[in-house]
Symmetry: C6
Subunit: 269 residues, 6 copies
């Protein structure tokens, strides 16, 4: 029955989350520019803090950025590089169709498990989804919200340390919910914004000839872009289905259709 299925479904969430992180990292982290490094450096600082400090037993970090900019992958990368033995992923993917009570149970279980380990790391992925947030209304699960608001402040037992890494594409919503200030470190995950950065990605993924790359670079020179790495990788994949001759043009068309190019080159926001 359903309850049985629920138990069954929950189980994997209580095992090690290491493999799950690997899935999010399957396509790797491309070093397309300075913004990527900045996030990783912030991650390093936070990891060093939790490892060496005597005082701080609870460290919280938020990765925020537009949809598809690579937040989940970067959070996984940071968590993985920390080598903290107890590692848990708290993601809406494992709670589809759960009632808010069931969600709270799962979340609480993850934290209770973490409190038992001397040093733990929890990734809370896609917070607005975990909250069942939708701007129409707006509606959201206050039960889950209140649970997170408490958990993000609650110290682990004496002698234990906990690193919490959250991700969101709705920083504004977290501010409305008064959750934002509970993250003591906040790193902005940027979209790709220059032709140079884009070419660096195309170069890494392969599949475009040098001539094509040059043609694309020329078209985009001076233009201002705004496209997340996840979206970009998906567009590249689609473009690869096209014939060699028209691939470069089609590729530029596709990202134009997404409204991701501003040819004026003047950023006025």
């Amino acid at each position: 029955d359903f309850l049985h299925a629920l138990q069954h479904d929950i189980k994997p969430a209580f095992g090690s989350s290491k493999e799950e992180l690997d899935i999010f990292l399957a396509q790797g982290i491309l070093s397309w520019g300075e913004p990527v490094n900045r996030v990783l450096t912030d991650g390093d600082l936070v990891i060093s803090q939790i490892k060496t400090s005597d005082q701080a037993s609870l460290i919280t970090m938020l990765l925020e950025g537009a949809p598809g900019t690579g937040k989940t992958a970067l959070a996984s990368k940071i968590a993985k590089s920390s080598d903290i033995p107890f590692m848990k992923l708290c993601t809406p993917e494992n709670m589809i169709g759960y009632t808010e009570t069931a969600k709270c149970q799962v979340i609480k279980k993850i934290f209770d498990d973490a409190y038992k380990s001397p040093m733990s790391c929890i990734i809370i992925d896609d917070i607005e989804r975990l909250l069942d947030y939708v701007p129409v209304g707006p509606r959201f699960s206050n039960l889950v919200l209140q649970a997170l608001l408490v958990l993000l402040k609650k110290n682990p037992p004496p002698g234990h340390k906990l690193l919490i890494i959250g991700t969101t594409s709705r920083k504004d919503v977290l501010q409305d919910f008064e959750m934002f200030p509970l993250f003591k470190t906040v790193a902005h995950v940027s979209a790709i914004s220059t032709a140079q950065q884009l070419i660096m990605v195309l170069d890494s993924t392969g599949g475009f000839s040098d001539a094509e790359l040059q043609s694309i670079a020329k078209k985009l020179t001076g233009a201002r872009l705004f496209i997340g790495i996840k979206t970009l990788l998906s567009v590249i994949d689609l473009a690869k289905q096209m014939q060699a001759g028209e691939r470069a043009d089609k590729f530029v068309n596709l990202i134009e259709d997404l409204g991701a190019i501003d040819y004026t080159g003047n950023v006025c926001l």
Copy 2:
């Protein structure tokens, strides 16, 4: 009892959906014009992408257009022509009167089944209906919405591929729900808009004499139409009940009553 009935009702939904697709295609796809081909071509591209790409394991496509323009039939056509072995239909027709929890269970089951197959295709038909959406309020099932928002982003397990084809006549609502950007390919399903296209349909369905066709064509020359193929086929059917002498006139009257003709011929919208 009801629970028993529920189990029973759900069952067919978990079998193969191939026959269900055939029902939606019973009246065939008439090639009444360029817009029809464009949608089918987009479908081909998406199918080729899921079949050949190494990277993309989750492909999402949306068919959006006014009510009765043929979205469900076209989605069925594309899915069928893909020859993907695991094919599932997620439609509100199979969930009448279900609670939102029951709906989520069914939807989750469909996806869980799909994840087990190396290559699968899921049609999510009539998304606004699946969400129990009504503009008064507005009201909708947030539980189902959140489930879809997660499922439309969640990658199938490594080595598995999934194609999701959604249909909706409320593109604006999907935008408000922040679901729209999760569809990486969007195809617009058009209404019939010229007399020529309409005559092409009348010609295919038969039942009108050449003289009648010419009379209709003359009346509509230069007029701007806006009528979905489904509505048009139903009007044609009604007109066939009428006497031969008055059929052509009555037919034009009927589509006039629907507000589907703009005689100015000037499209200002």
Copy 3:
């Protein structure tokens, strides 16, 4: 207990509805004017369509008009004259105090039964009541609404035909609910609007002397009326309790009190 009672209450709804139709037709259909005929003619067309067409397997018709104008009686009349063997009445009278879930079950059962018959007819009476609609709020049962929105579009199985006749006095509400366009034929049920039509009714019901009829006719000459047949029959009945001498005057007073007479005779609306 209650559940037992529920089962018991539901039962009659699953038997034949023929006798129920007769109750609605107990007072007969008076041919008080052209508007009555128009509705009946539209009904004939729809019946001929479902009987002869090869294409259309689902035919939907809506009778809409002000409260008390005779919608339920006319729908019953059309359904009865169709001679379709499987005939079902889906009316709020059989679902008093039901939860929305129970309502959905009953409605679904009616449709599932109909799908089993090669040709069926379902009357959905008083749709706004079935939806538990009230303008304060507004409030309504979204569960029932969504069920109807799907059922009004869902084709019966191949080889089966279904005629759905709905009635409502809130056309505007059905438009807000996006249910209106799902009815492919819409017939307006009119109120009595001229003295002549009213006299025709008085004449048929009897109980007024010729002198009284002439006196009434004189008073109302040139006036614009707006009174439904059901209300009119009830007022006639009340007037009959009065003494012969004052009956004609009192009758005119009663319909004046209802605000149903506009003596200016100029219709500006």
Copy 4:
């Protein structure tokens, strides 16, 4: 337990309501003026209609007026004088703390019982209270409202007759709820509005000397009053506790405090 208690509590409601009516009539009906007679005459007409008419099987009447004007007593009086054998009282007093589902059950039971009798009368007292209506919000029980909206239109079985008498002090609310037009006869229950009417009541109840009556009459000459009979009887009762010497003055003071006197004597409303 509670369910047991519920059963127990409901029981009396299903017995005869004759004695209950007597309770409401314990203080009798004082003939303080024309408005009282008008209501009773309307009641007589309705009773004669249900007794003699062949056509009308459902007669509905509403008594509406400000709080404390005697609606419940007058409804009881009319019902009692009809001598209809089956008589039921549907009053919120018997449903305190019931859920809306329980209320609907009770109401439905009352009507189902009535349908079994060839001629029945149901008093629906204090409709706004039965609906759990409160203007803050506003909030109300839509389940009960919808049940009443259907029951006030539903004909009893062929050969049966039913008289429904409702009372309310919120005519406006019933209009918002589209329930008002379902009452085919509406009688307004007036407050006492002249000094003469008031003196008539004081005279009937006794306890004031002639001198006191004259003193009161003099003070109030020409003033416009607005005080329900129930409130008035309660004030008289309180005044009787006072000493003979000051009784007349205190009595006038008490109704002044209620804001029930307008000394200008000019009615501008």
Copy 5:
């Protein structure tokens, strides 16, 4: 378990409430001025009415005033001085954390018990709290509200009498809820408003020397105060903790901090 606990918790509420009244009266009633007497006189009148009148079987009285002005104590005083044998206290203190259904049960039980006694008195303390009222929203329990609206109008059985004394600090809310007019007698419980009244209280409670009293009186001469007796007693208690030398000054400071002094001495409100 909880239900067991509930039963257990409820029990005391069904015993005699005499001792509970004594708790509310532990600090006694100080005769600090005319307003106190007025309330007690109104109480006497109401008690005499219920004891002697033949007519009135239901007497309702409301004590309303700002928070901490002594409403609960005065209601207890009046009830106690009536010597009515059956005495019940309906207070939110006995229903903490109850669902609205449980509250209704308790309230109904209190009234049902009272109806069995020939003469009873029920104190409904802190009505806005009983209703779970909060101005944000506003939110409140409509189930409890509707129960009270009916119970405040419902006559006890023939031959029985019932006195209901309510207290509230939100007269405005009771008006919005249309509950206010159901109280036939309303007494306003005043705050202390002059220096003289305050000194009278200080004098009664003791602990201040004559010099201190004179010093306080001098400071406050001509000032307008607004402080409830409950608040005042608590401030006096706090001041007593201070050293003799600075007590008088600190005391005045404390009530200044409460915003309870208006030195202009001109009341413009």
Copy 6:
């Protein structure tokens, strides 16, 4: 199962809370300035009142201040220094994911236990969180709110005394909820506002050389700060991870990033 877990989870909350207080005090109370002393003095007064007064049996105190200003630590400090034997902590940390009913049960149990002891102290920490408050909506648990509104007024049984210490960072919300006036003593917990106070904290925590302290002091001279002690300690901890050379500068940068420095030195609020 869950219920079992619930029982289990609740248990510790019913034991002694002394150890829990120690956790909140692990980092001690630094005497960084006059505002700290003021709160502690207010605490002393309240403790002396509950210990010596004959009258007051219920004493309520609120610590309010911006997030991270040390409210919980100061409340723990005051409670601990009182040496009251029965000490309970009512904190959202022990009720994560509880339904509002479960929360009320826990809270009620804490108070019922306290009433049994002759002298008790209850800390209600983070009241807005206990109420599940979120400004979006706003939403909150009215059940918990109403329980607290009653408990904050309810006297313990005769001969028993109770001290309640609440903390909140949303004084405004408590005012909207009409809970604020129920706290008879209110102490404001201040943020650090001058460079001098900040240096005093840095000095106490150690880890900065005298040169660094001087450099920081110089930079901040005359500037207006606004930073809670909790936030400050966390920033200090982070700064300690940095290299000695750049530590002072980075530290000032970090608090600048928090928007906690106003260099104009003019407080205009």
